[in-house]
């Protein structure tokens, strides 16, 4: 039977050969996309694995012996809109672990930097970047420690005595080497649960439409084939023989498609390295395919093609006469839209009941809900087609609408099959882009120039609301204040004091003198004739929460200037003219004056991890838009 199948495939004229070629081309496109999607997911994993060491302070491993301890204080700085990962380290002994990509740990007054940062240090004015870092550059971080060639990372050495006093520094015994070691790292390069969500989303968004594309491709010209096989059945072929013949054709087309697909993937791969899936380009070699991926493509696709061809034969096997005499099939019933409605109801139920606590059940909700919807759409498609064409045929005023409507009614499933891939691609793109763009919009709106030009150096870590007493500064030396005020582009400096017994719902930032606050309008203003004001938490611009500090009038607090000066300082606020040079100069000044106490941020800036997540989401949105464009191309009729 197999030789006969081969003969029928290759020897039955131009039409049959063309059909194999068209099917192979469609499968090739699908396989190429599938490989690219899988390689992209591998690349994402590789990238976050290489960045995992930056998270070594999350769920730290305690040092085994005093000699193997390493003091570690991570922070996130920024320069010109790009984020810089800054790790301050101090080796407690000779056996302290060394981060990947570095030959040794930097000693006091030494630092290692990533190649991209080194070039920035050399090319940018010293008072905007270079002066932030005490000491000298002793080496560059190798590619093993860089998530992306564009990563900006600096590892600064300190003495143990200096660093161990910092409240944010902790002693660790090992460097994290992979995501597995640090499940739950929320910060830095979108790892842990966030990455998991994105990977699941990407897998569903990219792989599903491709699978449908492959399945549809192997059923091209189904009616014609059905008729041919029905004739064979009528002249005495057994169902088994028919299956073999159709399987041979499907496998040949699928195999040719797989080979072409691999060729396509390898041809396009050099371009894929420039696609910033995570907001940062990938390193050469990240887009490697694992053995499992290759196996899925080489074995899975032909098997899927055979199964799909076999399903297509169902009617021929049951009743060949029905096919040849074109018996009308039962129209799809309304029951087909049940899974779709169930999917919507499922998501609506969770919306009403509130979100499940565990991250696992959240993923489950996402997966089950969306799988139901996708299956539901594919099932409900023919019903929608029938309903639409029924209306069209009923209201037909001319021959064209009548013929078209009747023909669609005759075989709505086949008509829908043409557009099924497109439907899934559209659904996934709408859902993904709808969700992602809402997130970016909610967090990205409402920034004014004044607040973007105003820097805050909170001496506590950015997200801590309760400030540990150890991290406040007794007073800001007047030399620092004078130097700040003299920096070109600076308009005003306000010092936020930590007042005793604050009762401002636990979120108060501190007390500011009103003459200083008047010069930094971005963080709010005083009531008329007040001498000092208690300012609230004006930095809290995190997901779903926006503070409108600039329009707030803070409650007055009567204090004399000398009383105020006696309180310790919890933050310094500097208003600039908003030019990037001025902002970076002020950052540099502040970091030089307070090297280990917090990182200056602009008032309306997002928390570093949120900012990074948003960059990533934005990049993902762009990638999904482009991918869905390709997908729409590929699966469009």
């Amino acid at each position: 039977m197999i030789p006969l199948g081969l003969r029928l495939t290759f020897g039955s004229g131009r039409e049959a050969l063309l059909r194999v070629l068209v099917t192979a081309a469609a499968v090739a496109l699908g396989v190429g996309l599938l490989l690219a999607a899988m390689a992209g997911i591998n690349g994402l994993h590789a990238q976050s694995d290489r960045g995992a060491w930056l998270n070594s302070a999350v769920q730290p491993t305690p040092p085994a012996s005093p000699a193997s301890g390493l003091w570690w204080e991570p922070s996130t700085d920024s320069f010109g809109g790009q984020l810089i990962d800054q790790i301050d380290v101090a080796a407690a002994g000779p056996d302290a672990p060394v981060p990947p990509g570095m030959s040794r740990l930097p000693g006091p007054d030494q630092y290692f930097a990533s190649p991209k940062l080194v070039s920035l240090l050399r090319s940018q004015p010293a008072d905007e970047l270079r002066d932030r870092y005490p000491g000298r550059l002793v080496g560059t971080i190798g590619s093993a420690g860089l998530p992306s060639p564009n990563s900006l990372i600096i590892v600064i050495g300190h003495s143990v005595g200096q660093l161990s006093k910092q409240p944010a520094a902790i002693e660790i015994g090992a460097i994290h080497r992979g995501l597995a070691n640090c499940y739950g790292c929320q910060s830095e390069i979108g790892s842990g649960p966030v990455l998991e969500f994105i990977l699941v989303g990407a897998a569903v968004a990219l792989v599903l439409p491709i699978l449908i594309l492959i399945a549809t491709a192997s059923r091209l010209s189904a009616v014609r084939r059905e008729e041919r096989f029905a004739s064979m059945r009528l002249i005495g072929a057994t169902p088994g023989q028919i299956s073999t013949i159709s399987a041979v054709e499907a496998v040949i087309a699928a195999l040719a498609g797989v080979v072409l697909g691999f060729g396509l993937f390898f041809a396009v791969r050099p371009l894929l390295y420039h696609v910033p899936i995570t907001g940062a380009p990938l390193t050469q070699g990240d887009l490697a395919l694992h053995a499992v991926d290759i196996l899925v493509a080489v074995v899975g696709v032909p098997i899927a093609a055979v199964v799909s061809a076999r399903l297509a034969l169902r009617r021929v096997q049951i009743s060949p006469l029905g096919v040849t005499r074109r018996v009308r099939r039962r129209p799809p019933g309304i029951a087909r839209i049940v899974p779709l409605l169930a999917g919507i109801a499922f998501l609506a139920y969770f919306d009403a009941a509130g979100k499940p606590g565990a991250i696992g059940s959240q993923l489950l909700e996402l997966l089950v809900g969306f799988a139901l919807l996708i299956v539901g759409l594919v099932l409900a498609g023919p019903w929608f087609t029938t309903a639409g064409s029924r209306i069209m045929a009923k209201r037909a005023s001319g021959a064209a609408t009548l013929i078209a409507g009747r023909h669609l009614l005759d075989n709505p499933k086949a008509a829908f099959r043409f557009v099924s891939g497109l439907v899934i691609a559209l659904f996934v793109a709408s859902a993904a882009i709808g969700a992602l763009s809402s997130v970016t919009q909610v967090t990205g709106e409402g920034s004014t120039n004044a607040s973007l030009g105003t820097l805050v150096d909170p001496f506590c870590t950015y997200s801590t609301t309760a400030c540990p007493t150890a991290s406040v500064v007794a007073s800001v030396p007047s030399s620092v204040l004078n130097e700040l005020r003299a920096t070109p582009g600076v308009r005003g400096v306000a010092v936020v004091h930590e007042a005793p017994n604050q009762t401002q719902e636990g979120r108060s930032f501190g007390v500011v003198a009103c003459n200083e606050l008047a010069k930094t309008p971005a963080i709010g203003r005083c009531a008329p004739r007040a001498s000092a004001a208690s300012v609230g938490y004006f930095l809290s611009k995190i997901l779903g929460h926006t503070a409108n500090a600039s329009t707030t009038t803070w409650p007055s607090w009567s204090l004399s200037a000398t009383q105020l000066a006696s309180f310790p300082v919890s933050a310094v606020v500097v208003a600039t003219n908003g030019s990037s040079g001025a902002v970076e100069r002020v950052r540099t000044e502040l970091e030089r004056a307070f090297p280990l106490q917090g990182t200056p941020v602009t008032v309306e800036a997002l928390g570093p991890s949120t900012a990074r997540l948003l960059t990533m989401i934005q990049a993902m949105t762009d990638v999904i838009i482009v991918a869905s464009l390709i997908m729409l191309r590929a699966v469009s009729p």
């Binding site: 409900a380 064409s389 021959a399 997901l543 779903g544 191309r633």
Partner: protein
């Protein structure tokens, strides 16, 4: 691709229609209608369901209000659908070519 394949399957009925004096433009309209109807209908359904799912999911998981996606999304969608319709239109010459009277011959 799919439509062209679908057309070759219906060479005979279309040729018969042409033989009976149906103008070519009417056949074009038939093909355009029966490809575009499921396309636009189901595309609308999936866009609505997609955005609805995103809105429900966002509201329950992140607690964010939903806002409609921006300009680039709509241009992509509309561009993609327009391109699909253009592809449908591109099959008209094929339709003209393959539906000659010789196809309808009865042996």
């Amino acid at each position: 691709m799919n439509i062209a394949a679908g057309l070759t399957e219906r060479r005979r009925p279309f040729s018969l229609l042409r033989l009976t004096g149906v103008p070519r433009r009417l056949l074009h309209r038939v093909v355009a209608l029966e490809s575009a109807l499921p396309l636009l209908l189901v595309a609308t359904v999936s866009i609505v369901v997609g955005l609805l799912a995103a809105a429900l999911y966002l509201h329950s998981q992140v607690g964010l209000a939903f806002s409609l996606p921006g300009f680039s999304y709509w241009t992509t969608v509309i561009g993609g659908l327009a391109a699909s319709l253009a592809i449908i239109a591109a099959t008209f010459p094929i339709l003209d070519r393959i539906t000659g009277p010789e196809v309808a011959r009865n042996e």
